[in-house]
């Protein structure tokens, strides 16, 4: 039974890896789907993509972007994420700039 499950697991992992390897490419500066809303806001800033990329690369790995985020809360949210995700001080600033340009 164990051997059978391991075989299935190996097969599944192989299929997934092959599919993803074919699709994998260097990250583009374009926004991911999860953070599409703040991207529009960020267009007006000098570096529109840095904070969004960092959001996707850190926060977005576990959860999607909150649908409604009051500007009054952005600092608290990012500080919480800085501790939880061990963000650097620079990443914290860039993500904060992205969330509240």
């Amino acid at each position: 039974m164990t051997r059978s499950i391991l075989k299935q697991l190996t097969l599944t992992a192989s299929i997934i890896s092959t599919t993803v390897a074919l699709a994998q490419a260097p990250p583009a500066p374009k926004p991911a789907a999860s953070a599409a809303k703040p991207a529009a806001k960020a267009d007006s800033t000098k570096q529109p993509d840095v904070g969004q990329r960092k959001f996707d690369a850190n926060c977005g790995r576990c959860h999607s972007f909150p649908e409604q985020l009051s500007p009054a809360l952005t600092g608290t949210v990012v500080r919480h994420m800085r501790v939880r995700a061990s963000l650097s001080a620079e990443d914290e600033k860039d993500i904060l700039r992205f969330l509240a340009p």
Binding site: T2, Q24, E67, V83
Partner: protein, 334 residues
């Protein structure tokens, strides 16, 4: 510059309002013929104090409603309310944060990152979750941060020491441990290792490794962990693929996310009270999550578990709503 400084400070203050976030959910489980219902609310509070401090906490309040005699008889509820963590964070320097209080134990990835009901893809924690995380939280001191960070690579660390505590809501064991991970943002690939040593009773070591990969071009997340404890070892491997490439993330199809998780545990010696399966166990979880608008998500899953003590089918559904709002309302106009 002098004119800009007060402006930037006031902007920072305006962004640092205390908040209440978290999730509310309704969980159902049918395991071996018995069905249980569980309404849950899990609020998170975060209160920044000045420029460097943050107080944060998460509670878990639920009522586990199940048949009185296991699979039959009238239903009865078992109410639970408790704090999962309550910690004070001091952001000392850019690469170091000091945390004191009752904090989530930094072992593996599930406990700190995936456990909240509004994040996890499956209702159940992985079978190996208790390895290194028996209480879920630790009472003591933790140092953590990003030791090195560039756009291409990040080195993150966490180290803690905890004390034995029997105080209600803040129970814990005397232990020490830590975590170290290498993260490549360009590939969204993370490899990390965890360690903990229990310093009381039957002292023992737990070790773990984790690998996460979430390629940019494909809405796929592959997460995995292996852990070895004093009496058992095991792994889990999860793949989640959101169908947002078809008609966009907001289409009816793009809101679907099939999820698969494979798990195995191997018992090496009897470990009374270690919360791990008593015998070697294999489990395959097949899930289908649906991301509705307005932060509502429906998770459903079927699991088949194989063990020498008996094979079981587990059906689960979870409806969650994630909320986020200021903890202090300021009425009136600007």
């Amino acid at each position: 510059m002098l004119l800009l400084l007060p402006l930037s400070e006031s902007k920072a203050e305006a962004q640092n309002a205390p908040l209440i976030s978290g999730g509310v959910g309704f969980l159902t489980t049918t395991n071996g013929g018995g069905t249980a219902l569980q309404p849950v609310i899990s609020p998170v509070a975060a209160v920044p104090l000045g420029e460097h401090l943050l107080v944060e906490s998460r509670a878990y309040i639920s009522d586990f409603i199940a048949p009185k005699n296991g699979n039959s008889g009238p239903y009865q509820g078992d109410f639970f309310a408790g704090l999962q963590y309550l910690q004070l964070d001091y952001i000392a320097v850019p690469k170091l944060t000091l945390t004191v209080g009752d904090f989530l134990t930094p072992f593996g990835t599930y406990n700190e990152r995936l456990a909240p009901i509004w994040i996890s893809n499956f209702q159940d924690a992985p079978l190996i979750y208790p390895i290194g995380n028996q209480h879920g939280s630790s009472v003591g001191v933790m140092l953590r941060g990003a030791a090195y960070s560039t756009p291409h690579v990040q080195l993150n660390y966490a180290g803690y020491f905890s004390v034995a505590s029997n105080v209600s809501q803040f129970t814990g064991e005397r232990a020490s441990g830590g975590q170290f991970s290498i993260y490549l943002p360009g590939k969204r690939l993370e490899i990390g290792t965890s360690y903990s040593r229990l310093l009381q009773g039957q002292q023992g070591n737990s070790e773990g490794i984790h690998v996460w990969w979430q390629p940019y071009r494909v809405p796929l997340a592959i997460r995995s962990e292996y852990a070895h404890g004093p009496h058992a070892q095991g792994y889990w491997l999860e793949a989640a693929y959101r169908l947002s490439q078809w008609k966009g993330p907001d289409s009816w199809l793009g809101r679907l996310e099939p999820v698969f998780r494979m798990q195995q545990t191997f018992r090496e010696s009897p470990g009374q009270g270690d919360q791990l399966p008593a015998t070697n166990t294999q489990r395959a979880d097949f899930g289908l999550d649906y991301h509705l608008p307005h932060e509502v998500r429906v998770n459903s899953s079927y699991s088949r578990q194989f063990a020498s003590t008996g094979n079981t089918n587990i059906w689960e559904t979870t409806v969650t709503y994630r909320f986020l709002f200021p903890a202090i309302w300021k009425g009136g106009s600007k």
